[in-house]
């Protein structure tokens, strides 16, 4: 159980505090309700590029990182299709420094042309290092547009293509900042050796006078229902074939989310899971295989991906996966109890770190019900065997499948 206190500023900023006197540190986590899904389809990769630019300096803080380091702090950030999340961990006695630097960059970020030029190059190198210069690195960049025909989830957070990042202008950057980086769009969670009342006072002191610069009402195209099997084949310079299969599922707040998550665990969590035992160990179709969900706020994807053993054809592999998906109808109570126990166990381990707790609190607040943070075990526990059967039947239809054959050019090696 995480105990927390909440507060809201007049400008809309939500503040959450989780007091913990077992540590000398504090985690300061600021989540902005903006992600890759909020981008223009001709200007993708922007939310992530902007995340980089948030470190360029602001009116009273010319060197963001240095001020944090001087306070004994460590900081970083990440962007997803849904959110951009910034965090600082530092000794509790310097908590006010975190308020200072993060309020300053929310209010008056200072983006010069030079910083844009440099970060553009850095992000392009990130694009190269993580996606283009890695075997199978571009698989999701190819897979997403297969699954999503209208919704902005059709592009990955890094962007559709390098040229979108290359073409980002100073004007674009300022427009994005004004539209999204506002107090009503942000959720601040503080977890550590602090007192809630004092944190609420500091929030008023540093964030209280910040006015919204813009107005963003999210209105995203709705992804139409899929009613045909879709396949894409590519040939790449990789040593073995790989397959990616995806089925659209509900979003994070959908009723069936918990059942579907447990279904992915039944299929591939741990060595005793079905896909691992049947398709890796017993029949040696795959050298590795994974079933996982994207967990996005809007409709997500249930993905099964794996690397094939040499000599196995993609068609045969796909067939085997479909058979496994069908055989869920004989799932046992034992299997369900197993994955529930694993889930409870990971939640307990996950609660040990202050930073993790802070991130989760911000996230559940974003979902609209912060109390969900303490209800996860109960919600997973309430999933029944018939729920599992029902969601499997409705998800895994051939006419709902999206399949990517990622072929190796070197078939004879």
């Amino acid at each position: 159980m995480i105990e927390f206190k909440t507060y809201k500023l007049t400008n809309g900023l939500r503040v959450i505090v989780d007091e913990d006197d077992t540590t000398p540190l504090v985690a300061f986590n600021l989540l902005y309700d903006v992600g890759a899904r909020d981008e223009n389809e001709n200007q993708t990769g922007f939310a992530h590029l902007f995340e980089h630019l948030m470190f360029s300096g602001s009116k009273n803080v010319s060197q963001f990182d240095e001020v944090v380091q001087l306070a004994g702090g460590n900081n970083n950030a990440f962007t997803s299709n849904d959110i951009t999340n910034y965090y600082i961990t530092l000794p509790a006695q310097n908590i006010e420094t975190a308020f200072f630097v993060d309020s300053d960059r929310m209010n008056s970020l200072d983006v010069s042309s030079k910083s844009i030029d440099v970060q553009r190059n850095v992000v392009i190198e990130e694009f190269n290092q993580r996606y283009l210069n890695q075997p199978y690195g571009d698989a999701m960049l190819l897979f997403r547009p297969l699954v999503y025909k209208s919704h902005p989830y059709s592009w990955a957070t890094i962007g559709k293509e390098v040229s979108h990042i290359e073409n980002a202008t100073h004007e674009d950057v300022v427009r994005f900042y004004k539209k999204h980086y506002n107090p009503e769009n942000a959720i601040l969670t503080i977890s550590g050796n602090v007192k809630a009342e004092e944190m609420f006072m500091l929030a008023e002191k540093w964030f209280g006078s910040i006015k919204s610069k813009g107005n963003y009402k999210r209105k995203l195209p709705v992804e139409p229902e899929q009613n045909e099997y879709r396949k894409l084949e590519v040939e790449k310079n990789v040593p073995v074939d790989a397959i990616y299969m995806g089925f659209v599922m509900c979003g994070r707040t959908g009723n069936d989310y918990y059942a579907i998550d447990l279904l992915s665990d039944i299929l591939s969590r741990g060595d005793s899971s079905r896909l691992h035992q049947h398709l890796v160990k017993d029949r040696e179709i795959f050298s590795s295989i994974n079933a996982y969900i994207t967990g996005s706020l809007d409709k997500g994807i249930f993905i099964i991906s794996g690397k094939l053993m040499k000599g196995v054809s993609l068609e045969v592999a796909e067939q085997h996966v479909f058979e496994e998906l069908k055989s869920i109808e004989n799932v046992t109570e034992n299997e369900l109890v197993k994955v529930k126990n694993k889930s409870i166990s990971s939640h307990k381990f996950g609660e040990v770190s202050n930073l993790n707790r802070a991130m989760n609190l911000s996230y559940y607040q974003l979902l609209g019900d912060i109390n969900l943070v303490n209800r996860q075990n109960e919600l997973y526990d309430s999933v029944s065997l018939s729920d599992i059967n029902r969601v499997a039947k409705s998800l895994f239809k051939k006419e709902k499948a999206n399949v990517l054959y990622y072929r190796s050019k070197n078939t004879n090696v």
Binding site: L70, L90, Q93, E125, N133, N237, G270, S345, V352
Partner: protein, 421 residues
């Protein structure tokens, strides 16, 4: 306007508790009674350093959960999974570690099976065959990753191919390993007289008794504990270029063998390393990423293994600026040697490192990792406590002296995997 910064004072390392099992195995533990979880680690002196054949350490550790006399790999994982327990077993260059993560309420249920896994694995041939097939394929994928090639080739040239820290895996190695190799390795190294236990989380007396009941008795050994072999380091210090024709980036590694943890200059060298490339605001990051935009990340590190230490600067840069990036790296090293670092910069790094020390011991799991490192290297809490003093005492003169003494650019190994044009 700017909030006052209070520099955190030195913290003394929180004590670790010790307990000895009936058969002499030392058990080190940290008790955080408000938690519901527990982490149990068995550490054996059984890393790659000790093996006579490639993959011996890795598989003897990695397959320990994959078969008992009366239980198959599937049954074993099924059992642990059912109780929400996670496990891992792996070997690095020096140690083999077998870890169990459990919730306190399920610990008793899984202890008997865990005992059997530690004391009597059988390494079924079918499991070995499957693992080899998978690893071979994984190896082929790794050979396409520039960062992987850079790392293994760097270590190979630094230590030599006959040295356990330098030996590179080759595709033939997968055919040469047998079940006998794993059984004999297990008998020689996975034994109570070669083992330390580290437990953190909710560890009360009932846990200690449980551990003693299962691991403190009836642990018979076969054969003798093997003595260590001595190895000579055969560095090939020069340039090495491995071309990857389709590469968009080049992986660069520059470095060499250096002083070890026991050397009186080691802590100061750690601070110099931080300034050079050990944090986000380092000289290398500020120049090569933040100013030039050549890379997504560049860093430098000191790798202190049990029997050798080396330093390395590594990055993946846009291929067309490979040579420019290398020039800038040397430029930054030369700058550290030629000019005094300002008090302002020293202060920044000092405060940051104090914060890092705080973070490194925050919570029972981090604290245990810190203690594990100290204990395995024969140190006590003084080694940690001393760091605050070293940070306090460092001066521009010391930094200049250490840089000149330990960064000899004429004697560095320089390796590129990618495209030099």
């Amino acid at each position: 306007m700017i909030p006052e910064i209070k520099v955190p004072s030195a913290i003394a390392l929180q004590k670790i508790n010790t307990f000895q099992l009936s058969n002499g195995i030392p058990l080190y533990y940290i008790n955080s009674s408000h938690l519901e979880v527990i982490e149990i680690q068995f550490v054996f002196d059984a890393g790659a350093w000790f093996q006579k054949k490639a993959l011996q350490a890795r598989l003897s550790a990695g397959l320990i959960f994959d078969g008992l006399n009366n239980k198959s790999s599937k049954e074993i994982s099924e059992f642990f999974d059912y109780y929400g327990t996670f496990f891992s077993a792996q070997a690095d260059k020096d140690y083999a570690t077998v870890t169990l993560y459990a919730t306190v309420d399920k610990l008793k249920e899984v202890m008997l099976l865990f005992e059997e896994v530690i004391k009597a694995p059988v390494y079924p041939q079918s499991e070995i065959d499957k693992a080899l097939k998978q690893l071979k394929q994984e190896h082929q994928v790794n050979l396409e990753k520039n960062a992987y090639l850079a790392r293994v080739n760097f270590q190979n040239r630094l230590f030599g191919n006959d040295h356990p820290y330098g030996k590179m895996l080759s595709v033939n190695d997968f055919e040469k390993i047998s079940r006998e190799d794993l059984l004999s390795y297990y008998n020689n190294f996975f034994r109570p007289d070669n083992c330390k236990l580290f437990i953190s989380g909710k560890v009360d007396d009932s846990v200690l008794n449980l551990m003693n009941n299962h691991f403190g008795t009836n642990w018979d050994v076969k054969g003798n504990l093997m003595k260590e072999t001595k190895y000579e380091v055969n560095s090939e210090v020069s340039s090495c270029y491995i071309e990857k024709s389709e590469a968009l980036q080049s992986a660069i590694r520059i470095g060499g063998v250096t002083i070890d943890r026991n050397h009186e200059d080691f802590n100061n060298l750690q601070i110099v390393n931080t300034i050079l490339g050990g944090y986000f605001g380092s000289r290398l990051m500020k120049n090569i990423r933040e100013d030039k935009g050549y890379t997504y990340g560049i860093g430098s590190g000191l790798v202190a293994l049990k029997n050798a230490s080396y330093f390395t600067i590594n990055t993946e840069v846009k291929a067309s600026v490979t040579q420019q990036a290398i020039d800038e790296i040397y430029k930054e090293i030369d700058l550290l040697k030629a000019e005094y670092v300002s008090e302002k910069e020293i202060n920044l790094v000092r405060n940051y490192l104090i914060g890092e020390l705080y973070r490194s011991v925050d919570g029972p799991f981090n604290l245990m990792e810190k203690w594990k490192g100290l204990i395995l290297n024969g140190f006590d809490h003084q080694k940690f406590d001393k760091l605050f003093k070293v940070l306090n005492d460092i001066t521009p003169e010391i930094i200049k002296e250490i840089s000149n003494r330990y960064y000899d650019t004429n004697n560095m190994l320089e390796l590129i995997v990618g495209k030099n044009k």
